[in-house]
């Protein structure tokens, strides 16, 4: 019984805090008569959100699709590159600087350049931005995971005369899997954020980022916040899905 009480408390505590914060927000806006362009009240944001569920949903689908494509492409490229780098140390040494550079540059800043390259009417630029943002954490975590093979497993592979590819498939990749999914979990929020911010720099309308800016520029601040709420939900959705995958991938591991 105790663990259930514990988990109920674990859910209830942040919920109460959240409701309390919203309540204070609402009361502050009402009491101080704060103008909507400064800060709309939670009730008006939520009303806008409910009234515009179809449009928020449509915008989320556009941004979500870009983020998902970026997550999948960046994830695959990240894992494959990490496998190659783990097998060929020279590649790792050559690419270390490039990866460090990629992790330092603000990737969304590439968006305007990519719009010119791929055409402003295409979603491609946003997907590429998301993919590059995803690549870095997935690559770094996967590479770390690929180096966690226990000596006893390495001996076992040698003793059973496994080929390098068999050893990679049977021991190295499964050892790295929880690390790959940790990378994907970190990358999932980055994918949504990057895809969304990339919309600010141009490209077709319809996504959450464009909707936020256009609602704000037409002075519909509560609606802009409703789109922000939509982006938060989208980000949480990506995060929870990858967190669930991570848990699933590491269910029989004592650690990691």
């Amino acid at each position: 019984m105790r663990p259930q009480i514990g988990s109920a408390r674990a859910v209830a505590a942040p919920l109460i805090l959240g409701i309390g914060a919203l309540l204070i927000w609402q009361l502050t806006v009402m009491a101080l008569d704060i103008k909507p362009f400064v800060l709309p009240s939670p009730v008006s944001i939520f009303t806008q959100f409910i009234d515009n569920v179809p449009t928020v949903w449509a915008a989320s689908v556009v941004t979500g699709t870009n983020a998902l494509i970026g997550l999948i492409v960046g994830g695959i490229v990240g894992v494959v590159s990490a496998v190659i780098a783990a097998l060929l140390p020279i590649i790792d040494e050559l690419s270390a600087g490039l990866v460090a550079a990629l992790s330092v540059i603000p990737i969304v800043a590439l968006a305007p350049v990519l719009y010119t390259m791929f055409g402003a009417a295409e979603e491609t630029a946003r997907q590429i931005v998301a993919a590059i943002a995803v690549f870095v954490p997935v690559y770094l975590n996967s590479l770390r995971g690929l180096r966690q093979v226990r000596p006893v497993h390495r001996d076992l592979m040698r003793a059973t005369a496994a080929t390098p590819w068999q050893a990679t498939r049977v021991v190295t990749l499964p050892t790295a899997t929880p690390f790959v999914f940790t990378g994907l979990r970190i990358a999932s929020s980055l994918a949504v954020i990057s895809a969304l911010i990339a919309e600010y720099f141009g490209g077709p309308v319809g996504g959450l980022g464009k909707s936020i800016t256009s609602a704000a520029s037409s002075s519909n601040y509560a609606l802009a916040w409703a789109y922000v709420l939509g982006s938060i939900i989208l980000g949480l959705l990506f995060y929870s899905a990858t967190l669930a995958l991570e848990k699933l991938a590491s269910r029989h591991r004592p650690s990691a």
Binding site: R150, H153, Q166, H252, P254
Partner: protein, 286 residues
């Protein structure tokens, strides 16, 4: 796997091809960085293991017993000397899967079920799924884990994990079994039960065994011969034949037998390098 091996237990017939393991003049020197601080782990080792024979390597830490086992398994190469397994080089024997090996850590793959762990060597060597399933069921029965095939390693006790590792080592019915302190991490009760199991399994499989241990009673209980090693540099101090009967005759009662205590004392004397005086061996002769 190959037909050049003789039938197990066929006496100490001469000729390198008929020996399970034949080690001549083997040394292993570990060189530190830039050639400084070289450590001679093994020096001038000569040892022959007959088919079906159970040989234990015993000695204090640093005597090179694990290194010797790794050399036999071709997980490491000797600096000098030659190792032959059923007449083949160690490398050829490894590639031909002439031996099965169990380590001090069970070394199971935690993401695979018990059955999938046992069938791993069979799978790697391309055995069909149906054959693997039948063989795995057989091995699970052999190590007394019939109902545990679908469990995962983290759901098993240490002793059970070690049994799975032994089953995996036996998967391809090797004629040689290499074991590196497989019961080292187990408690004394589990350990003795595992030793009884191992004696039974060896009786059934007729494989030759090279068994590394630092427990004297364990070595005596299990072995046909006990190889006592001394450290720095690792050398063979002496080889003691233990005539306690075939595996079928080694039961729980053997642990109480006089012959058992005598052999334990003799191994102890060899280990400590003391002369075999009558007065020095009073401890076990109650």
């Amino acid at each position: 796997m190959t037909d050049q091996t003789t039938t197990p237990g066929a006496g100490a017939a001469s000729g390198a091809a008929s020996d399970a393991v034949s080690i001549t003049g083997v040394s292993r020197v570990f060189t530190g960085r830039r050639g400084e601080s070289t450590v001679t782990a093994l020096d001038g080792i000569d040892l022959t293991v007959s088919p079906g024979e159970f040989v234990s390597l015993i000695g204090p830490s640093g005597c090179g017993k694990s290194t010797l086992l790794r050399l036999i398994a071709d997980l490491d190469q000797p600096t000098a000397g030659e190792i032959r397994i059923f007449g083949k080089t160690a490398k050829k024997a490894r590639l031909d899967q002439e031996y099965g090996i169990a380590f001090q850590q069970a070394g199971l793959l935690p993401w695979r079920s018990v059955a999938a762990n046992i069938e791993l060597p069979l799978q790697l060597h391309g055995m069909a799924a149906a054959g693997r399933k039948a063989r795995t069921a057989e091995l699970l029965e052999l190590v007394g884990l019939g109902d545990f095939g679908s469990k995962y390693p983290d759901q098993l006790s240490g002793g059970m994990q070690q049994r799975v590792a032994i089953a995996r080592a036996l998967a391809e019915s090797p004629n040689l079994l290499l074991m590196d302190e497989p019961f080292g991490a187990l408690d004394e009760m589990t350990r003795e039960r595992m030793q009884n199991e191992l004696v039974r399994i060896c009786g059934e499989t007729q494989a030759a065994v090279v068994f590394v241990t630092h427990s004297i009673p364990e070595a005596v209980f299990l072995s046909n011969r006990v190889v006592v090693m001394s450290p720095r540099p690792g050398r063979i101090q002496g080889i003691l034949p233990v005539a306690l009967g075939s595996s079928g005759q080694r039961g729980e009662g053997l642990r109480e037998a006089d012959g058992f205590f005598d052999a334990v004392s003799e191994v102890r004397e060899l280990l400590h390098g003391a002369p075999a005086e009558a007065g020095a061996r009073g401890v076990e002769n109650r």
